[in-house]
Symmetry: none
Subunit: 202 residues, 4 copies
Amino acid sequence: MTEVREPVKKTSIEKKEKIIEKGFEILCEKGFHNVSTIDIARYAGVSTGCIYQYFSDKKAIFVEGAKICLKNICFPLLEVFEKYQEKDITIEEFVSRVLEESIKKQNLSRNAHQELMSMCCLDEEIQNIFSQMELEVTKEIETFLQKKHFSLKNSKERMHLFIQIVDDYSHEVIYHQHVEYDYSIMYEETKKILLHLLKGDL
Amino acid sequence: MTEVREPVKKTSIEKKEKIIEKGFEILCEKGFHNVSTIDIARYAGVSTGCIYQYFSDKKAIFVEGAKICLKNICFPLLEVFEKYQEKDITIEEFVSRVLEESIKKQNLSRNAHQELMSMCCLDEEIQNIFSQMELEVTKEIETFLQKKHFSLKNSKERMHLFIQIVDDYSHEVIYHQHVEYDYSIMYEETKKILLHLLKGDL
Amino acid sequence: MTEVREPVKKTSIEKKEKIIEKGFEILCEKGFHNVSTIDIARYAGVSTGCIYQYFSDKKAIFVEGAKICLKNICFPLLEVFEKYQEKDITIEEFVSRVLEESIKKQNLSRNAHQELMSMCCLDEEIQNIFSQMELEVTKEIETFLQKKHFSLKNSKERMHLFIQIVDDYSHEVIYHQHVEYDYSIMYEETKKILLHLLKGDL
Amino acid sequence: MTEVREPVKKTSIEKKEKIIEKGFEILCEKGFHNVSTIDIARYAGVSTGCIYQYFSDKKAIFVEGAKICLKNICFPLLEVFEKYQEKDITIEEFVSRVLEESIKKQNLSRNAHQELMSMCCLDEEIQNIFSQMELEVTKEIETFLQKKHFSLKNSKERMHLFIQIVDDYSHEVIYHQHVEYDYSIMYEETKKILLHLLKGDL
DNA sequence: CATGAATGAGAGTTCATTCAT
DNA sequence: TATGAATGAACTCTCATTCAT
């Protein structure tokens, strides 16, 4: 394996970022195994050789992209938490914001989520990134609840369920589109579960 | 594509079944794209040519395996429903049985679930199999509830959430093994949500 | 290579003949390399194993078929020679009959000729069969001419040209179908050449 | 099918040409179906991957080679026509030159002709290349004759016969080598036919 | 004798990675 | 640094041939 360099020149940094951005985009759109490094290079507007200057292999591009993508998904949620920590917002409104924000962000990276799930299942490195992110969000919500003077029993486990259900919901809304389901009802039912998870009176 | 034959002789049927069983096993364990047809043949104890007598291509083996695997996951659940339809079982006990059965079955096919999720995301054929199975289970639960004289509001959407959460739970228990979580607490919290989904008083 | 048996039972002889007939037919129609032994077996209504009882390999079927096919093409010509040896037929009429008969026969085995030419070029065994046949026809024409009291100078070489041109003509008429050519004119021009080859007064 | 690139660098152009030259050579020598892409690569001194950079598949190499080969066969003939258009050459001498040139060229590409005929019979693409070439030569001869003030009846059909017989002759001389024939006699007889075709007084 | 399931070497083709320019 | 032509191992799939039944 050729030595991987870290770019220092401004133009080089931009090049690396371009590869991550465009590379992750096309990898997610077409699926990791259906995209060649030549495709990535062409799509990012660089040469194949250039890719191997900044990345050890094809997977590394995906991993870098995944990290950024997850941050982009998580940060809006974290922002919601922060935004409403000081304000006089009800828990009900909070849950609504979280769901809305989650859908909004997943919509921005439709295919990304599919491919992320795929890779997550098969690749330990990606799995760890996921875990790490979940922990961060979990902590943030707990802080939020404490500030709101909610003392939650079994908070860690409930937060996990909370995140999982938020994720399931937005995933279902965006992709599956089961024709049999009424998504406004699904929304209400999901909200009820989330609320009870936060309120602790299940 | 060479014609695909359906085996009639007993030994041939066994051979086809062996390819599905062993093939699906190794495909799930190592990931679809990390296993060659030669690997599958060797692992199943047949020749590569033999594989192409009964399957049009590599994916066909996975699809056949996936169908059986999903049946194996779903049937135990359906059995639970049937088993307790006539008996004097409480809803609480019912939910416990469902969770236990779900974990038991997923344990039998650890890696399968990971690879299934992967492929499900990327392949429409697998997606449809999943959808079909969910519908079947949904109907079965509804029948069960009717026999128990529960009339459920928003039943379809709740059933979807029910199945999803059961699946999340057993998946989490088996794979993620987040060290931070207390799985007996997770179990209790999950049960509470499931119960409320069935009772309708959320 | 398993021993090849010569069939003795009547049904077996019929089976071998069926394989040659049907096998050669499909080999010519689709091209030697585009037909598998399984195709041949199915088309001839026998098992693949059966083929290897009477033929050492796939090529052997083609060779046997080619021999018969060439006989079928040559014999009608030879018949023409014989038929008109005793009768009071003019050389002009004779040439017409030869051309007509040649076309008629090639029409009966359209694709055969194409595939024969292909194989002839690449395979010495087929080449020899061709040479042998040409010699036979050559001799026959000479005999015919002697009976008609034509003593021909350079007869062997002229006969070769004769056969070649007859073959070219019928091949052109049947396959090429160049839209630019008027085939009745081609017929007349060809006849003139052939006549002069026989008459010796070129 | 991976995209096919057109080489621009001098070394790459040479590489592509090498593949055509050497590839066509070995394909003709051993027969299209008896040569693998690995054989071609090895014989041309490149990697298998390199072949697929410049050619969509194995057949494409053959087609490119065939085009060049046919040009090499036809151009010397066309040159003969041009060369003697202005000069005070007799038709008799002209025919001699054509036959000599045809043999000379076919000798340079012995096996090519065999394989070309094979493929021509089975592949429409090659057939078309052949037809195209024949038309070109036909036109050229007609032009030649007009300049010599020969007005030929049935010129198209006669030109077709002319080309066919030239081809037959040189093919026979080079390959068949029937021991029974005296090739100097064959030469004289062929010349007579060709002359009469041009002179129109058959 | 007949069968056709099984074999496995070998086919054409792809693509992550390298390296001379 | 940047390039993209070149590499060749590895892939999926085919089919002439064999052999247990």
